[in-house]
Assembly symmetry: C2
Homo-oligomer: 594 residues x 2
């Protein structure tokens, strides 16, 4: 969706938009950390996030990759910076076509800084010499597809700011005229350069309105994180620093914590003032850090740790082709990125009903689904690669996970236990100690308010429901005991399969079971999570393969623990259990006397 | 769906199929009565109903019309008889193409009796001379589309039964061979001629199995309704009457009630015996009467008045193009036939989600939607055409309806109040007496068992839910009071419109609100009833037009009552109210102190 449309619809509801800017880190670990951080920050529901374009196009491929992962895996509306520096039009179009095919609709069109080591911007052959040309090109070649944002300079563009730190009035006015041309050429949103004097920003907005610029003007705010960085950035951008700010920083400049705290305070006050003047959106330059940006938004009451609102129980990719997707099988609940990659090829994504998607053909299981950030690999190594002499030792590991003592799990991309799992972790511990090794579960939920912190989703005034679900590995002998027990528990439906494709179940192949649903005012019933045999049969290969790829293979070759894990993988069954009576049923009754 | 598939899937579930046969009545009133009777009988869930083809094709058009109305309006899987008598192949194909285009998939292929006044069957020029040829034709021309049923004669075909009432063994054997040929030619089901000696039927089944006929053989049972009719029918079909049956009938032959009671007893015993011998389906020749057929099925415990199971809250057309339809707007709840006729032109029918069907274009409102069986017209005349001097008199009529004292309503095709309306009729009476003239409503339902007699649907082991709904006419002044009241009741959503298209609402045009839904084991959430602005805007014309077409116009021209009704029609608003909080809300709170 275009950011401008999102900002406008929020404004119509009297809400304020906020957004975060990131830059492409230099190292692979840096990129992994950025995505973990982004995952946490995006949970607060920013309207969009943008990713910068390395000076001179140096990080082009990395930025393109990060932008696509933001939109499709982190699932936030993403905006990519695009600059003219060293970019012949073929490269510009390659970038635009790439993000379009990845379902991204938003671009920040900039002339861009001169490449490293050069003072002056030089137009590259076959490229553009200013943002205006870039805007014209995007509109003429891609019509109305892209939302185009351009930069606004409350203190005029640095190129026209003199030694005295000020731009002449003519230069400022012609800067404004030039900004208007960019809007008239088809840009629909302005984000400003950073500033620390709010009055300058408010005057700039007023001046823009005077010359007929009517689109939203989003203030760009960079919380002060450390003194030297602050001086370097404001020096580079020739930003005016109010006297009181320097006076406040001077005594604490060597105390990083104090500078950060002051930065949060200053940022909060600046935003309060702008909100009071009717500003409807805030853009935070995070420098890839989260604390200050989140602290400012919390101070403003715009986000609340306890009330992270989820539109669905799982995060929906912002990819323009997937924005209507609202039904998924439960099996990849802890491996959402794998699910996104295995469904990437789908033409359309299930909306409202899983229905006939049974015939959905998942992408083949590949190394990609088992590639992990190095940090996660280290975690798995530390927490899971211990001597395993017996199945009981394996059970102990699963019990530790249920106790919340482990941060990682071979079967999950996510950190530790999910909030709702804590509701049933006592029963989970008992079940695991009986040899039923759980890798996914959800408690039953009957008419909980949809803003419940643990199980809520979908906005404030609805009711949410869940059928209790349990997925685990167990031996054939234990499976037989479960099957026998279920004969006396008619509201339980199960499916079980081993690596050899032997299938045991009491439901029909075509039975699609909605296990999470929500009822909201003036809405159709939303059922985001289902259990279906066809997807379970695809998922089981990934689940069995995880024994080797994410655990056994972390041991040296021929290590006895490794062999034990392979034995379990080749002999155990993967079982999916649903308690359909979410009002009176108890899924754990199955294990009572096993 | 093909009847053979339905019978087989019921057998897989260990259930017995039952079906009713009707014939095309001679008069229009007779046809109206048949459909009212069929409506009642179909509520018990017969696997199919068939309609006979008048001897010599005399009732062709009527049978075709009745068959289509059975499949599309009464919403039961329908099978049409088709005979060769006087039917050149063009006429045969016209009939087959007509039922195919009406979504009917089942045909009973017969040679047919000779036309009235002729003893011997004569092959018509360009037609077929036996059922076998007809089966061959249907298979070769229509491939696998039709389910084809053929007749089986437990006592051999009447043409080969001698004066002594018996067929020679050769004639019986060749009759069996001929039946096999019909099956081998592509027929997939056998329904037998009527009989009263169950042993003969059981022997016939056995003999069929001996020569390799493996498809289901459905016994045709005609409950004895009156003595003379019984003798005439058995005489015509040359049916053997067991001695004990004649002995039982002789003393009571002039007492119609006693003959009917004996007919029910005999039918019950015959069926018990056949069921005990593994027969899995029963076909009842009803002669367009309901009591005996229903009594036999009740005696057998196959139907239960209190447990009329509804797969959906409204009856879904059996039309092969509509069998997956499971979402409808609530507005036509009391006028299902009108809804079917106004949606006939749709390509596909909403399944699971109303979703984008908002753009559905309804068929234009025409005289057809206001055509009524004469009996209903008489009822309306008696119950509604009274002197109306003031709006209070109109209110009294609506109150009488809520009290259950009226059998008819201008705004309903159905008889009297629906079971669930009785849950809230006290509140409805109060609301109507305050000038809010209700024409549709449903109580809120929170997790009721799906086999509840009043609000249940969808089969036994689910939970059903409803948001409370109220639809009424009222003056602008009263509407304003409601709108004001709703400001303090955030969980109420409303839409209101008058004849002049002035629209008042607190929901968005695109808001589709699920107001009835059900949760069932191993199923996706089913939401059969929704409230949506686009359909409400179409429905309102029909609702306003009803003031004139079904009430005012029943008065003489210029009658003051008629003028009063027109005045109300042109000044009142039609209001649709939903209480979205089906757990804690109370829709009647809106009217508390109005």
């Amino acid at each position: 969706m275009k950011v401008i449309d999102k900002i406008q619809s929020l404004a119509d509801e009297g809400k304020t938009a906020f957004s975060f800017e990131f830059f492409p880190p230099k190292t692979e670990d840096g990129v992994d950390n950025l995505f973990e951080r982004m995952d946490r920050m995006v949970a607060y529901g920013p309207t969009f996030c943008d990713i910068t374009w390395g000076a001179g196009g140096s990080t082009a491929d990395l930025t393109l990759d990060i932008a696509s992962r933001m939109q499709n895996v982190v699932c936030v509306e993403s905006m990519m910076h695009l600059t003219c520096t060293n970019m012949p039009v073929e490269k510009i179009d390659h970038a635009l076509e790439t993000i379009r095919s990845n379902g991204i609709q938003n671009v920040l069109a900039l002339r861009g800084d001169p490449p490293h080591g050069q003072d002056k911007f030089v137009q590259v052959e076959g490229g553009f010499d200013c943002a205006l040309d870039l805007v014209n090109h995007i509109r003429s070649k891609y019509g109305d597809y892209f939302g185009i944002t351009v930069a606004g300079y409350p203190e005029a563009h640095p190129d026209v700011i003199g030694e005295n730190g000020l731009a002449s009035n003519e230069a400022y006015q012609s800067d404004l005229e030039y900004l208007k041309k960019k809007i008239d050429a088809g840009a629909d949103l302005i984000v400003t350069q950073l500033f620390y004097d709010t009055d300058i920003f408010l005057k700039f907005v007023n001046d823009c309105r005077q010359i007929g610029i009517s689109c939203p003007i989003v203030p760009g705010i960079m919380p002060i994180n450390n003194y030297r960085g602050f001086l370097r950035m404001t020096g580079f951008c020739k930003t005016k620093i109010p006297v009181e700010v320097m006076a406040a920083l001077e005594p604490i400049k060597d105390n990083e914590e104090a500078v950060k705290a002051y930065g949060i305070h200053l940022g909060t006050e600046m935003c309060k003032k702008m909100l009071a003047h009717g500003v409807k959106s805030l853009h935070l330059y995070t420098l890839n850090m989260e604390k200050s940006a989140l602290a400012i938004l919390m101070n403003l009451g715009m986000i609340d740790e306890s009330k992270i609102s989820r539109s669905l129980p799982w995060r929906r990719p912002a990819n323009v082709f997937r924005t209507k997707e609202d039904v998924r099988p439960i099996f990849w609940a802890n491996r959402p990125k794998s699910y996104i990659s295995r469904t990437k090829g789908w033409e359309d994504f299930p909306q409202g009903r899983w229905g006939d998607s049974r015939s959905a053909s998942y992408g083949a299981l590949s190394d990609h689904q088992f590639s992990r950030p190095r940090a996660r690999d280290k975690k798995l190594q530390q927490e899971w690669v211990v001597p395993l002499k017996s199945v009981e030792d394996i059970q102990e590991k699963f019990k530790e996970l249920c106790l919340g003592n482990l941060k990682s799990s071979p079967w999950s991309e996510l950190d530790g236990l999910q909030p709702e799992t804590r509701i049933i972790n006592e029963q989970l511990i008992k079940v695991n100690s009986k040899g039923f090794l759980t890798i996914n579960s959800q408690p039953s939920v009957n008419a909980e308010r949809s803003d419940s912190p643990t199980v809520g989703w979908g906005g404030p005034v609805g009711y949410v429901y869940q059928k209790a679900y349990l997925e685990f590995f167990c031996s054939k002998e234990k499976l037989d005991a479960v099957v026998e027990k279920c004969k006396a528990l008619p509201s339980i439906t199960y499916m079980a399969v081993n690596k050899g494709e032997q299938w045991v179940s009491n439901t029909a192949q075509a039975d699609v079971n909605a296990v999470t649903w929500g009822v909201f005012p003036a809405k159709e019933i939303i059922q985001p999570t289902i259990v279906d045999p066809a997807s379970f049969n695809v998922w089981k290969d990934e689940a069995f393969e995880t024994w080797s790829r994410s655990w056994a293979n972390l041991y040296p070759e021929a290590d006895p623990s490794r062999n034990l894990l392979e034995e379990v993988k080749n002999s155990y069954y993967l079982v999916s259990l649903v308690e359909n009576d979410y009002i009176n049923g108890d899924i754990f009754a199955v294990f009572a006397d096993l």
